[in-house]
Amino acid sequence: MTAVTDLSGAHAVYDVDRVRKDFPILGREIHGRPLVYLDSANSAQKPQVVIDAEADLYAHHYANVARAVHTLGSEATNAFEAARDTVAAFLNAPSRDEVVFTKNISEALNLLAYSFSNASTFPGAERFRLGPGDEIVVTEMEHHSNLVPWQLLAQRTGATFRWIPLDDEGRLVSAAIDEVINERTKVVSFVYQSNALGTINPVARLVARAREVGAISIVDAAQAAPHLPLDVQEIGADFVAFTGHKLYGPTGVGVLWGRYDLLAAMPPFLGGGEMIETVDMTGTTYAAPPHRFEAGTPAIAQVVALATAVEWVQGVGLDAIHAHEVALLEHALEVLPTVEGLHIVGPTTAVDRGATISFTLDGVHPHDVAQLLDERGIAVRAGHHCARPVCVRYGVAATTRASFAAYTTLGEIDALVAGLREVGEMFR
């Protein structure tokens, strides 16, 4: 595969320099060196159009949404609801009412876990109830945000928390899937692409198995959304969530997509303004989805800017971005192992793998690797990447991670390799 794909229009040949021009921060120098930003899996940088979208709303069309009958309120509401249409189309959602805006994907996953536990005292929500004997399944490679909410749900309900283990290559133990997901399983929640390993999971198989046993399936697409087309109808899961700031969007906004019939039967999570149908001191009825799950004033400007980010991604083309990232990945997987003492943690080939690479460097702590790279202008992440069980599994305290995005260049990967060589020498 090459970086040149069958795109029509301006980006027919992927023009990374042109893409880079959209990002003001890429002009920055760090310690006198040009910024080499290889931490996009942590959070992506923002194109100018996204920055402008928020600013424009505040400067010209701002008011609270949903509630106001005046012109500014209507303009803001129309922009907000148009953003819901944009996101629904991006996900190929059957209905715009299946798109719930949250503050990040962490909230989206907690929303599900709390709604399910609220089912125990909520009339008509029997199918979401969990109790002793029921099982909740995740994988050993989850981000803490798709792990702790389910641990807490298990604690609250008495259900059993289980996980599909990892093999030595950084993939799920295939043979374990059908055993761990079984007739007792009520919820299966798993990551599409691992932020710590880069692994892309067998989504179709996991969803099919969950359906087979009658479990609710949830896909954490935080790391998939910026890199792979997300078609919720094709994925076939019950819920799919992602987070705005990793998709070149603003902070403060995430998305939960869910099948309408499920959302409509689910108890509310946060209580407050705009999620109600009618409120009485002695009792309250709740609005239909998506509003039932959007209590209080939403992240209005951020939702609008997220739609701009989605449009930006669609403008460049997700296929084109993906092809570009595959080229970067293949190059990185070739050159990184030439650094003395470097060991990749996770799949070492480009098959079923995203452009996020964790590694260790013999004799140098990841903190030192990252800090010394920073002194060369190169931004990578060091730590357990909020997926500590992965580190435990592979017997390392932490790793260094380089992750690529639409604006990453082959030259930046070479700069990374050169930097790593220097760091290695320094500690030898």
Binding site: A66, R67, A68, V69, T71, G73, S74, T77, N78, E81, A82, I276, E277, T278
Partner: protein, 155 residues
Amino acid sequence: MSMPSPQLESMYQEVILDHYKHPHHKGLQDDFDAEVHHVNPTCGDEVTLRVRVRDGAVAEVSYDGQGCSISQASTSVMTELVTGRQVTDALGLQEEFLALMQGRGQVEPDEESLEDAVVFAGVAKYPARVKCALLGWMAWKDATARAVAGEGNPV
């Protein structure tokens, strides 16, 4: 009273105020197949609506309600439009009006079919008011579906 601004085509056109002040078919009729009660919880607007269906046509619509001029006038205009029509045609009109209202001001209204109801086109730009304009229409649709299904018939 003059319009507040020359640039503005006011949402409050003569037709709306007329229907608001002199509503058509207001006052519940005793002979009906189905009755419904709809409320807009965000502002308390409400309508009780009765429908009689004969030979596949909307024989009679009557209602009682309270609320803003948009919700009340829209209900009044609706009763004029659907009465005497085949149920299927009337449901088609309801869909057309719904599409107009949900179009965020991007949908061109068809005066040919919607007649007086086109005066509500301006409402579509104000999401908080769309439910007002739809209140009576949704109640009518609901009541008619029940009447056709033979439910809700008075004994």
